[in-house]
Symmetry: C2
């Protein structure tokens, strides 16, 4: 589902304009990114939590010329699903 | 950051009541869960996308009595960060 369809569907459900919905999603996204950027854990009730995990530096090889180079350490966002999402998916898994 | 603080901060930024913010987050969460439950990929602009991955069944051992049992296959939600989030975290990583 593309962003556009999601916005449309949500604006139907909430009886809002598409602009309001898409602004809200942007704000939420920007805000979560910001908090994660400060190395904070963001917990959304019923949905799950976002946190960062640090990946250490590692040595990789360029397959074209065989040269080794260092990949610097980086932070990656990780999503941990909450109870509601897990239950929903379990239900689906059982129906298959 | 707990859900309560997040709701408070977002309601300040958007000039909304906390109830509106928390209702919106619940709707969004429920909606994403629902789409994932239908095995759909949900893409949030600027933030990232949610998708499901199927984990195959596997055999596990109960450490208490050594009995082997079958863990059934299940669907797990996976979050793939978008460009904005990645850039934000890269910035932070470099500052450390």
């Amino acid at each position: 589902m593309k962003n556009k369809e999601l916005v449309k569907e949500l604006s139907n459900r909430l009886k809002w304009t598409s602009t309001d919905v898409s602004d809200t999603i942007s704000s939420l996204g920007a805000f979560i990114s910001e908090r994660l950027g400060d190395d904070d854990i963001v917990y959304l009730e019923g949905f799950g939590q976002f946190e960062t995990r640090k990946k250490g530096e590692r040595i990789s090889v360029n397959p074209a010329n065989g040269k080794r180079y260092l990949v610097p350490p980086k932070l990656v966002p990780v999503f941990k699903p909450g109870v509601t999402v897990k239950a929903k998916l379990k239900e689906l898994g059982n129906n298959e």
